[in-house]
């Protein structure tokens, strides 16, 4: 009896252990299969066809493989290439990319920018391949034929181009998106010229006093540009250079009168009720936006923006743009594509990236899926998405190539891409264009300044005494080494000026 019990117990234990180990093993296999096995399998079958693995920042969906298969048919037929697109959820993207590049995982292309999969950090770690030679090779010929002149300069560090900017709206201009019924009700003059959001104050006060259910102004993303677009270029968050300064003098942002005034305005607006009173804790406002609880939203101005807003929020909005479009020195760096330094076949990678620019059909398939299954064509360049589709990467249009090749969706007017591109071309260009700041000499100071900044910046709104706030943050930033950073930026700009004869 006892013996039998023992045997049973032993078997159970062994069974548990085995299932544990098997479980782990399977997981490991699964993990690597997602990124690499796809490429090796097909490579073995048809050795002459190169497979390019491309990591993009998008939520995986059910029909991903179906669309990829369809795309690969076209790619193989036309370009003798295969694509393995790896979709990584936006929330995981930074960490996954960091892990992949630190652990030498096998990928060829990836999304990089100044805000996700941080470009300069990757360059510091030498994670990206220098594209200098590649761009002049045959593999890149088709791409360079259509690529906007000099757009790649923004990704040049120490003489090497480490990424190619994708093409979208690249200029800076702010606009207020205003609920149309309110604009009508309070007789806002929509044809007048407004320089900054401050000019709308009388309207905002009326909304504040009479529309108790609404928040007046949604500004979460744009406080630092609220009134200063086109006045400065900001470098590494804290360093500012006036756009018309022939001396290229670098200032600490809180020592420029414009920024000091701007933050002071925000502070007074908070205390007078223009900004919502729970601003300190209102970090995610998407739900309030979706419920149309903001009378005015401050966002990037763009052609057809009001239609897009109206479409997204199912309520009519009007757009009031401020000032003139301005190309910052780092215009384009917000969305780029880079090649892994360990890529086995960089020629194939650049060729495939070129296809996204030159082959409209394949590019749009990557965005919208398969015609008839995921979308229907309304006219040559206009589509409608199918209800309940299991593939929709339309949000990738600015992340994998040239957005101006994308099909138009309902709400986007004809000619909107041409209009945007025209503004890209005609916007005033910063005199710092082509300069890049290398942070590696001031990493420690940057870390400490970032920390102080994140502690204090939002307090600018709700500080009881603005001047106390200003003194406090300035003192702490100085202690964190802001002066060293400013001096380093100045030094690099001076060197850059000499090198470029400015």
């Amino acid at each position: 009896m006892n013996m039998r019990k023992k045997v049973i117990a032993f078997l159970l234990t062994a069974g548990m252990l085995v299932s544990c180990l098997v479980g782990c093993g399977q997981k490991n296999n699964g993990g690597s299969a997602g990124t690499t096995s796809g490429s090796t399998d097909s490579a073995q079958q048809q050795e002459e066809i190169a497979t390019v693995t491309w990591c993009v920042r998008a939520t995986p969906e059910e029909d991903d493989e179906l669309v990829l298969e369809e795309m690969n048919k076209l790619l193989e037929e036309r370009y003798n290439l295969h694509l393995n697109m790896v979709f990584i959820s936006p929330s995981d993207f930074n960490q996954r990319m960091q892990l992949m590049s630190t652990s030498n995982e096998d990928y060829d292309l990836c999304f990089t920018s100044t805000w996700a999969n941080y470009f300069y950090d990757n360059v510091n770690r030498e994670a990206f391949l220098s594209l200098n030679d590649l761009l002049e090779s045959d593999a890149a010929a088709d791409l360079m034929a259509v690529y906007p002149d000099g757009l790649e300069e923004v990704a040049r560090v120490d003489g090497n181009v480490y990424a190619l900017p994708n093409y979208q709206l690249i200029y800076h201009q702010l606009a207020a998106f205003i609920q149309k019924d309110l604009a009508d009700k309070y007789e806002l003059d929509l044809d007048a010229e407004y320089d900054t959001i401050v000019d709308l104050l009388p309207f905002m006060e009326e909304v504040r006093d009479n529309e108790k259910d609404l928040f007046v102004l949604n500004e979460t993303q744009n406080i630092r540009y609220m009134t200063t677009v086109g006045i400065f270029d900001d470098i590494a968050t804290f360093a500012y250079v006036y756009r018309d300064d022939p001396e290229y003098k670098v200032h600490f942002l809180l020592e420029t009168p414009e920024i000091i005034e701007q933050y002071r305005t925000m502070n007074s607006w908070f205390h007078s009720g223009i900004l919502r009173s729970d601003l300190a804790t209102a970090i995610d406002v998407t739900a309030d936006e979706a419920a149309n609880r903001y009378a005015i939203s401050l966002k990037t101005a763009k052609p057809g923006g009001e239609a897009e807003f109206t479409n997204t929020y199912q309520k009519e909005y009007v757009q009031v743009s401020f000032g003139e479009p301005y190309l910052q020195y780092n215009a384009g760096a917000a969305t780029m594509t880079a090649i892994n330094v360990n890529s086995k076949n960089p020629e194939a990678a650049i060729k495939l990236y070129g296809v996204m620019w030159t082959d409209k059909e394949i590019y749009n398939m990557a965005l919208f899926g398969i015609e008839g299954v995921h979308y229907n064509k309304v006219s040559e360049n206009r589509i409608e998405l199918v209800e309940g589709r299991k593939y929709n990467k339309s949000g990738l249009s600015w992340a994998i190539g040239n957005q101006f090749n994308a099909y138009l969706l309902p709400g986007q007017e004809d000619g909107i891409w041409e209009e945007t591109e025209e503004l890209n071309r005609t916007a005033e260009v910063s005199h710092l264009a082509g300069f890049n700041f290398d942070t590696s000499a001031v990493e420690t100071e940057m870390a400490q300044c970032n920390s102080v900044w994140k502690e204090y910046e939002r307090q600018a709104y709700y500080a009881d005494d603005y001047d106390v706030w200003l003194t406090e943050i300035t003192t702490k930033m100085k202690a964190a080494g802001i002066d060293t950073i400013i001096a380093e930026v100045q030094k690099q700009i001076d060197e850059w000026r000499v090198a470029n004869g400015k």
Binding site: K6, A9, F10, T13, A14, M16, L17, C20, L21, N94, Q98, S101, T102, N104, Y118, D121, R125, E126, A127, S277, D278, A280, T281, I283, V341, N342, T439, E443, T444, M446, A447, Q448, N450, S451, V452, K454, E455, Y456, E457, R458, Q459, Y462, K476, A479, A480
Partner: protein
């Protein structure tokens, strides 16, 4: 000699099942705790992808990655916050858990014990994100329940999320509420192990309920309390990131009392993704934790050797 060998073989044979049972844990420790330890050298390296962990150059000077933390003007503040708040949590947490266990032990009806236990454990299963919204609904300036109550009684609302001085207390309450149920199980279990005859004898001698608790239950619990506190002290330099980040909603105005080492490192390095610097912070924490636990254990050993961990 041969006899000894035979015994040890028998010991192995008899304990082989137990040994197998521990294998997964040993594997887990080896994979996730020992193997990554080689990574500590990253803290001293200028990491480049092309050169790999071992091939990358050493930092010059060697301890440069530690600078951002050691030379920071906030180093004192975050160390103080981490230490004091964790001390508070350990002692208040232990006190409440023991008190709760003692109270439960006095409840003699089985189904009542089950009900109390279930309800006190429930919070432990809530993630800190969920807890943060519960706290938010209580403390929000405009719509929060607590401010509504204050207003109802004629007071003026309090801006909880911008007043740093309230937060050590708020965090303490949240932490104890969150953990007391789970922790008290351990104490309750060891109370169950006390020989009932002791209580009966005390009752015959005319001891009151309180006297029985103080002179029988608590002394029996001392070894386990010491052990638990020692284990907690070993972690005193590591803050519960989930709690400090979520429950305070990461509001800058609260940092003066709620910013701890883990949140500071996260905030400072999230933009840069500098692997060397984040490793440095982690190495620093591990070293200090190691020192504290060894010291604490040495002190306990000196006072009452049988209660020490090792």
């Amino acid at each position: 000699m041969t006899k000894k060998k035979r015994i040890s073989r028998r010991v192995i044979r008899e304990n082989i099942q137990l040994g197998m049972l521990t294998l997964p844990v040993v594997a887990l420790l080896a994979i996730f705790s020992y193997w990554p330890m080689f990574g500590v050298i990253l803290a001293f390296k200028n990491y480049k992808v092309t050169q790999g962990i071992f091939g990358s150059d050493w930092m010059n000077p060697l301890f440069k990655n530690f600078d951002f933390f050691l030379k920071s003007q906030d180093a004192f503040r975050i160390t103080r916050n981490t230490l004091l708040l964790n001390f508070l949590f350990i002692f208040a947490g232990t006190f409440c858990s023991v008190a709760f266990a003692l109270l439960m032990y006095e409840v003699k009806k089985n189904y009542q014990v089950k009900i109390y236990q279930t309800f006190s454990i429930l919070p432990s299963f809530l993630s800190w994100v969920a807890v943060s919204y519960i706290v938010y609904s209580l403390l929000d300036t405009d719509k929060g329940i607590i401010n509504r109550i204050i207003e109802f009684f004629g007071g003026s609302p309090v801006a909880w999320y911008t007043t740093a001085s309230y937060w050590p207390v708020i965090l303490l309450i949240v932490k104890v509420w969150h953990s007391v149920g789970l922790n008290c199980i351990i104490y309750y279990a060891s109370l169950m192990g006390i020989d009932n005859e002791l209580f009966e004898a005390a009752e015959v001698d005319g001891a009151t309920k309180l006297q029985r608790v103080i002179h029988i239950s608590v002394p029996q619990l001392i070894p386990i309390i010491t052990m638990m506190v020692l284990l907690d002290i070993g972690q005193i330099f590591r803050a519960d990131f989930g709690m400090f980040y979520n429950v305070t909603r990461n509001v800058g105005a609260l940092y003066s009392t709620t910013d701890v080492i883990d949140t500071y490192v996260f905030r400072t390095l999230i933009n840069q993704g500098n692997i060397g610097m984040s490793s440095a912070a982690s190495v620093l924490q591990s070293v200090v934790c190691f020192i504290t636990i060894v010291t604490a254990n040495a002190v306990v050993k000196k006072i009452s050797p049988e209660n020490s961990l090792f």
